[in-house]
Amino acid sequence: MRRLLGIATLFALTGHAADSPAEFFEMRVRPVLAKNCYSCHAQSKMGGLELTSRVGLLQGGKSGAAIVLGNPDESLLMKVVTWEHDRLKMPPNGAKLADAEISDLKEWIKTGARWPDSPTATKSKEYVIRPDQKSFWAFQPVKKSAPPQVKNSAWVKTPVDNFILAKLEQNGITPNKPASRLTLLRRVSYDLSGLPPTPAETAEFLADKSPDAYRKVVDRLLAGKRYGERWGRYWLDVARYSDDKLNSTMEEPAPNAFRYRDWVVDAFNADMPYDKFVKAQLAADHMNDPKLLPALGMYGLSPEFQDDRVDVTTRGFLGLTVACAQCHDHKFDPIPTKDYYSLLGIFNSSEYKEYPLAAKDVVDSYEAKKKRADGVEKELKDFLQRQGDELATILSNRTADYVLAAFGRGPKDGLDPTGLDGETLEKWQKYVKRKEHEHTYLSKLRAAKDGDDWQKLAQEFEQLALAVNREKKEIDEKNNITLGGSSKRGDLSQADLASLERDKYFLWRDLFGTGGVMFYGDKKIDRFLSGEWKRHQDLLRTRLDLDKKAVPEKFPFLHALADKEKLLKQRIHVRGNASTLGDDAPPAFLTVLCDDGHPKPFTKGSGRLELAEAIASPTNPLTPRVMVNRLWQWHFGDGIVRTTSNFGALGEKPSHPELLDYLASNFVESGWSIKAMHREIVLSATYQQGTADNSAFATKDPDNRLLWKANRKRLDAEALRDSLLFAAGTLDETAAGQAKPIDDANHKRTLYGYVSRKKLDNMLALFDFPNPNQTSEQRVATNVPLQRLFLLNSGMVMDSAKQLVKRLEKIPETQRISEAYRLLFGRAPEAEEQKLGQAYVAHGADAWPEYLQVLMSSNEFLYVN
């Protein structure tokens, strides 16, 4: 409606002469200013001039007021745009205004430069969600439908199978034969624990003929602590977990990051209800349970890109790409820009906080000692700098003497070089003899001959040096005032500050700057100090030494969040530009997920707890769908929705929408139990199929979206490394704790290794570990030659083979090959395999580790069927 009105007004205005001053301004003046001036005189305020308001014009910039009301001839603006001004000709670069535009400006100033309140200010029109957007599948309530009828009901083991089989039958596809028991055991063991079964576990399962043998295995695996180590790590992919901060220039570990990682592992092991798991990560500081506080590491360890927190929240929990809406309304999903800023405001009203995990007195004592040491350090630094300045001033008063002596003119001309400082004189000598100087002030002295008046030249030079030093101090002082006493770096700051002329600057730098002839800094200045000054310095040094030693190692703490004391009033950044502010964006949930399309602003603190509750609400259609879909993906390789972090219009549609909703509603009904979901999935006949191919079915469904077979999977980085150590018998299964580099000395499970945002470990990177700088939805599995180099040459593989030899040496030589097969593959070797193995190890003493390395590089080891 507003838009229509605008067009109507425009028409009216162009149709008639602009009669009111407001209309004249909007039609003839504002557009001219905006088009020609605002690139420099709006936010950039070039020359101090801002032409976006009447006040701005009247105040003007460095060259004075831009307009004189009623008097265009006296107005600077007119002189500048008519190019009558001797220096300023605007707009720059030869684009002079049209005569009509100039006369409009003139007319406007003459009639008092009326500047009405803008009817077309940055107020955005109300965002409307179209019906087709509102009815998009992902935003519909989760609807539980009964498992469909199937013809081959004998195949069905759990309701999941009804959904899968019904689709297969519709497409004329029959499910695969079940996997062998050995294959199934290896598959479910890797899936639920990240490690293969031991020979004993294999033997036990193969011998257990009871109907619930498989269920017992699943129960055992879900109860084991390795389960959380496997599945917690998957969540850490989503949470872009790392053990350091992304700092481009230096290592910056987050020393307590592991406490978040360990909390995640424990939460999975304890089957913490997923709604609580979500809420704790967003708002544990509002949940009155200190045990949940480590969960805030999800945000406390943010890589701090401006959109990271909104991105990880919405893609991670909701499968929505809200960060796409930071510059404009989402192009495809019903997400207005305002929603992005409403969420951003929640995080901008929160701040990073470290929660100490030590008694108050320990913390206080640390802080106090640290503060004291820092204080002394600063005092010493300031003292030395003052003394250095003082000393340079003193020395500079004898510049002439030093210069003469440096040129070897001292004694000869009857001057007494005594009292000159030896080191300073040496520095002077070196300096005057330099091949080149970047200023010309020394050239006369350098060209002087025996008969010249050396005295006079030296005196002149001294006066110059003193004057330059004075001038530098004055300029510094002036700049300091211009900057309001703050010399801190202001982002995007701009100021026209004064500086020395270049030649003078070089002279100043060479004589007084750091490393200059008369500069003496820390330690170097010591020999000039005596008496009280010396005692003071020694005292400060001793104190600093003691105080530094007194600072204990920092107490353990949590990287977390807290609400800011002063909450931020977030406004929209128009087109993502922080300097162009639009409407207010009070903290609130996403428009499309609110029943009436009008999100109510959150009122408690930053709003994080309310956001968490809205996300983890049982009526939120996305949260349970997104999580069960992730669980499905981590079991099968692909999700029911393959774009697991994008359920929006550009994401893929679910292959089995009813199944997705069936699982999502069961998830909520089970009290958000993740382990219940695992049981739904792994006990199904669908999950237990074999991997055998079928060319007819592959033609119909090349991507196996309908799941007529199991997908073969390559071991990921963690499972590969863990399996090598496991086979070697050297896996250290100590849980939790500080992350250590993944080197040959580290035998803990890979998830406990150091994950770096700055430089990801070689082995992890090689085997497709996800980028920890952003939330990650899926592991890809590549097969590239560099990975084979790891198998050929890494210490990890070579050592594991050697260790496995040691394990095998305990048993008779004739049984070693079969024992190796049992340990690595859970089966006995075929006759041909036995024969090939025997032939190889017969080569000599070194042949055993070589042979085992081959087995550990084989596809049977690297892939799970």
Partner: protein, 442 residues
Amino acid sequence: MLNRREMIQTMSAGFGTVGMADMLSGGTHFTPKAKHFIFLFLNGGPSHVDTFDPKPMLQKMHGKLSPVGNLKTERKTGTLLGSPFKFQKYGKSGIEVSELFAKTGGVIDEFAVIRSMHVERPNHEPSLFTWNCGVPLPGRPSFGSWLSYGLGSMNKNLPGYMVMCPGIPTVGPQLWTSAFLPAAHQGVHIKNDEKADQLIPYINAQRSAETQRHQIDLLSKLNRMRTDDPEVNNSLESMEVAYRMQTEAPEVFDLTKESEVTRAKYGNTNFGRGCLMARRLIEKGVRTVQIYFGNFQPWDNHDDIMRHKVLAAEADPAIAALIEDLKQRGMLDETIVLVGGEFGRTPSVEVSGLVNVQNGRDHNNHGFSMLLAGGGIKGGTVYGATDEFGFKAVEKPVHPHDVQATILHQLGLDHTRLTYRYSGRDFRLTDVEGTVIQDILA
């Protein structure tokens, strides 16, 4: 017919030997003019007004406040600072270059000098991301990864995209990430101050070639016995490539195979050795080589612009030698060389509280220069211009997206059609922008 999973894995098999190329009709979108890309990144932001963009007005007004005021940059700047370096005309084209790049001036007729570059932000990280990944944020695939994905490698025994830096430039590995493209397209970072045999992880054979041959033969037999294994050929091919790489890769990096004269021309410096290695890699069929001048941001001379003298003494001969060498070997026609940094520097002197001395320049994202040579680029061309002080690009402004679009174009790719679907959206290097700069094409 390959399914999606197999497609990803196959594409990744031999460093992307079967890349996007096979999915594009006729391999590329257009007939390519060039096959290789060398990106010489003078990281930190070299000053254009001291190198390739002479500004007489700046010299004239030295020491005075700019009449039009200073633009917003990262820090505070003051009066205009004339260049301490002399410019002179070079070559038939008569393009003016400063004494810092006299040797590059000697081959300036090969270059198109773009004097109207601009980027959005005056900060290193976003600008580095824009040049390398097309957006000022992390998370997108890098330039070289897109090329590896789009064109594949021409040598199965070497990675298609190599990155050299003695250590790590500012931002680090995110600059050569494949992000959501298959990991095989990631740049392989090698530290060009290390010995040739330590450049690629696990490249040093730990057993004799004969032993490894026995092992691989056994592996091949064992793998083939598992008849239900669809991965078997890929795995074995991968292993054979790895086996050959152990001998081929270290040889490429061994600069002692070059004559002393050649090595001296490039200069015995990290950057000089890097440029020479780039030529050797290109010769062996590597698609993209990127060299970062040094660790972090060496050209970031906030304090004292005279530091440029030392840096240029290393950069200048190496750039000139590379161009001459490529030309002499007939490789310049098929290799695009891009030279420059993430942004330029202010014509006004930096006076922020962070600098100890005041003879340096702040970052300048509003205007700077980049150089392009080879691969069908029209040499001896100047394109665009900054204002009279060199603060802002005013004539035919060029964004990195335009340069990226142009380079892709020369390599036979339409930047709007080189896409990859991820998380439900098609992504491209140039995001939603970019125009091929027709005027600098031969």
